[in-house]
């Protein structure tokens, strides 16, 4: 299998799906002539032309709504937000139109659309350009929310998202575009939405991590192995719908769990996972559920402060040692 970056894996997924289905088109700011602000869409304008790969004005509410309308009339748009920070302007169309259309039309109008782009913490761009918004979108029935952490997952999940008949929020991680990994080159390779992946098997403590926190959790697990603690790392990959069964099964095995995320702790996805564990596996727990979250502050600019705001390997190790009563 070829080894490629997440950026290249996403590019392959979009290219293959544009080639596979005429109804699929890509639109967003700088996706065409500029090759994408993060180069995810490199070469696609040349290959598919301006009808299928469309540069938009900076008008997020407008083009998000335009995409939803196009989906109502039979197309399958991929709408790129240059970053998910800008999707905040488009939330009326994502939430009030895309998420609810099927329901409020009594099942007549489904919205096959993918809203994708980078999210989470970026490198020193301060508060407005560096934030994790998945818990917002995961709150709404009607949306699916996907967050890949490896090149193979990125490709397989994005292809599934484009083929899905519902609106999918597909949040890539801005810091991870250059991460490399093996990716199957079979054009029919897909990964189903809603299925968690056990990234590492272990017996003593379960670490649930997504997106940027997956490599952090895996590094922590390596170090903890040296300290004699066997960690199981689970990546839900899709946060709505959440594959809670896989998490519960793991907790029943290890009896201890750490939940890592880069988003704020209040009303976060891990707050939900924690509640599910309490409801479904309370009697299996040998220690309280421990969350490791991003700091509950707007993201600062200064490197020293930014580092403090994002969970790192050391904090995950400390949390695991805490639930294992090692310190």
């Amino acid at each position: 299998m070829p080894t490629i970056t997440i950026r290249e894996a996403l590019n392959q997924a979009i290219r293959e799906e544009l080639a596979r289905d005429e109804r699929v088109f890509l639109m967003g700011e700088e996706v065409a002539a500029y090759d994408g602000a993060y180069k995810v869409t490199k070469g696609l304008l040349n290959e598919f032309g301006p009808k299928r790969v469309i540069d938009t004005p900076i008008t997020e509410l407008g083009f998000a709504g335009l995409g939803v309308g196009a989906a109502m009339a039979g197309l399958r748009p991929i709408v790129e937000f240059m970053t998910f920070n800008f999707s905040i302007l488009a939330t009326d169309q994502i939430i009030n139109s895309a998420a609810k259309m099927l329901y409020m039309s009594g099942g007549q109008f489904n919205i096959p659309i993918v809203f994708r782009g980078p999210g989470g913490s970026a490198f020193q761009v301060s508060s407005q350009h560096s934030q994790a918004l998945e818990s917002w979108y995961a709150y709404f029935p009607g949306l699916k929310v996907v967050m890949p952490s490896t090149p193979a997952d990125a490709k397989g999940l994005l292809k599934s998202a484009i083929r899905d008949d519902d609106p999918v929020i597909f949040i890539e991680q801005e810091r991870m575009y250059g991460n490399k990994g093996e990716v199957p080159d079979d054009p029919d390779f897909t990964i189903p939405l809603g299925v968690a992946d056990v990234k590492r098997e272990g017996t003593d403590v379960t670490i649930v991590a997504r997106s940027l926190m997956v490599p952090v959790a895996l590094k922590a697990a390596d170090k903890l192995q040296e300290q004699g603690v066997s960690c199981e790392v689970i990546d839900p990959r899709t946060v709505r719908p959440l594959d809670i069964d896989t998490i519960i099964e793991s907790v029943k095995k290890t009896n201890r769990v750490v939940l890592a995320e880069e988003s704020h702790p209040i009303c976060g996805v891990n707050a939900e996972i924690s509640a599910e564990i309490m409801e479904r596996a309370f009697d299996y727990l040998d220690a309280p559920v421990k969350r490791v979250s991003g700091a509950d502050v707007p993201m600062p600019y200064a490197k020293i402060l930014e580092n403090l705001a994002i969970p790192d390997v050391e904090r995950v190790i400390a949390a695991v040692r805490e639930v294992a009563y090692l310190d």
Partner: protein, 376 residues
């Protein structure tokens, strides 16, 4: 137009309220009103040329159906048969009927929450609309949408949308799809004048002209965004002029004259179908009722309401048709009783229809539901 509208009143003027709940106003100039009506009628008569009697009678019949349907909606709403919000279309019937008579059956329509009239004019049955108001399983949206969210895929009625202006980007996208798919279908998007202050309006018009999309933006200027008059809410009140900002074609249209609306829409449809270009139509109209059923409308003057009642689109059109000997009183009376019976049938259908089954709560959330226990 703006000069004839009353000055906004301050809260301190509340004691001026009359017993009818509307603001007191100087003497109504009845002669001026009559003259206004006669001028409008003269213009309407000039628009009759080339139209079959059958077409004209059908236009009137649809307007009357909407009027009677809405009167009945108000009645059953007051009786507690329907819930939520209920925004009536009384006074604006000429807009829906005129506009929708100028498009094809397979053209698309999107609109706001004041939608019962447009739904019926697009070809949805009064039964399915009334049943939706009743929240019944037989409603056009299976009782999940209600007054503000009616849809019918069969007639390309793509919904009532209830965030002011929210349907404008959607309609732009529907027009985008029609062009992408190489069809010659056009999209008609209704919205009120208050939606023009939303960013969604401006973002959409910019893209529509930039990408030459076959979309007709039909602004129904009824002069009030809920209780706030246009004068209190908009710096440039000639809405059609705003199209200049996007180099888009536009027209002012008399929304109380069904034939004026039909003609202007036909010109916009031609532009959309033949040249794939959008148009902004500002259709000046008036709603005779409050914003919704809970609104007594005491922010408007009696003189203003009377002025527009004199321009009632049904009164104007029936008077034209009678004077031109296209219909007589007997025909109109017979039509009215038939329509009243049609509306009664819709009410009976709604009353007798089943409620949604409790299981319906959890259907139609996803087209591809994912079973969380599913494993690849």
């Amino acid at each position: 137009m703006s000069k004839q509208t009353a000055e906004p009143r301050s809260a301190a003027g509340a004691e001026e309220k009359s017993s009818t709940g509307v603001l007191d106003d100087p003497e109504v100039d009845r002669q001026a009103l009559k003259q206004d009506h006669d001028t409008a009628k003269q213009k309407q008569k000039e628009r009759l040329a080339g139209l079959e009697s059958e077409t004209l009678i059908e236009l009137y019949r649809q307007m009357l159906l909407i009027r009677r349907f809405e009167e009945k909606s108000a009645e059953v709403y007051s009786a507690g048969k329907i819930g939520g919000f209920c925004h009536l279309y009384i006074g604006q019937e000429a807009v829906a009927v005129g506009a929708l008579s100028a498009i094809r059956k397979d053209d698309y329509v999107l609109t706001s929450y004041r939608e019962h009239g447009q739904a019926i004019a697009k070809g949805m049955s009064p039964e399915s609309v009334m049943a939706e108001l009743y929240g019944k399983a037989t409603g056009c949206s299976k009782g999940k949408g209600g007054s503000m969210h009616m849809f019918d895929k069969e007639v390309n009625f793509l919904g009532g949308h209830a965030i002011v202006g929210g349907q404008i980007p959607l309609a732009t996208g529907v027009a985008f799809a029609a062009k992408y798919q190489n069809t010659d279908k056009v999209t008609l998007c209704f919205f009120g004048e208050a939606a023009v202050n939303q960013g969604a309006f401006h973002e959409s018009l910019n893209m529509a002209q930039l990408w030459k999309l076959p979309c007709i933006y039909m602004c129904e200027n009824n002069q009030y965004g809920m209780g706030t008059s246009l004068e209190r809410a908009m710096s440039l009140r000639d809405i059609a002029q705003k199209a200049c900002a996007y180099e888009m074609a536009s027209e002012f249209v008399d929304g109380m004259d069904v034939l004026a609306v039909r003609e202007a829409t036909a010109r916009a449809v031609e532009r959309a179908r033949k040249e794939s270009l959008p148009t902004l139509l500002e259709v000046r109209t008036y709603r005779f009722m409050g914003h919704s059923m809970s609104d007594p409308g005491n922010y408007r003057t009696r003189a203003e309401i009377e002025k527009y009642q004199e321009r009632d689109p049904l009164k104007l059109f029936s008077s034209t048709l009678k004077e031109e000997k296209i219909v007589d009183d007997k025909t109109l009376q017979q039509m009215d009783s038939e329509i009243k019976e049609q509306v009664e049938r819709a009410v009976r259908f709604a009353e007798e229809s089943p409620l949604p089954a409790p299981e319906e709560l959890y259907t139609d959330i996803y087209a591809n539901p994912i079973d969380p226990s599913h494993k690849s």
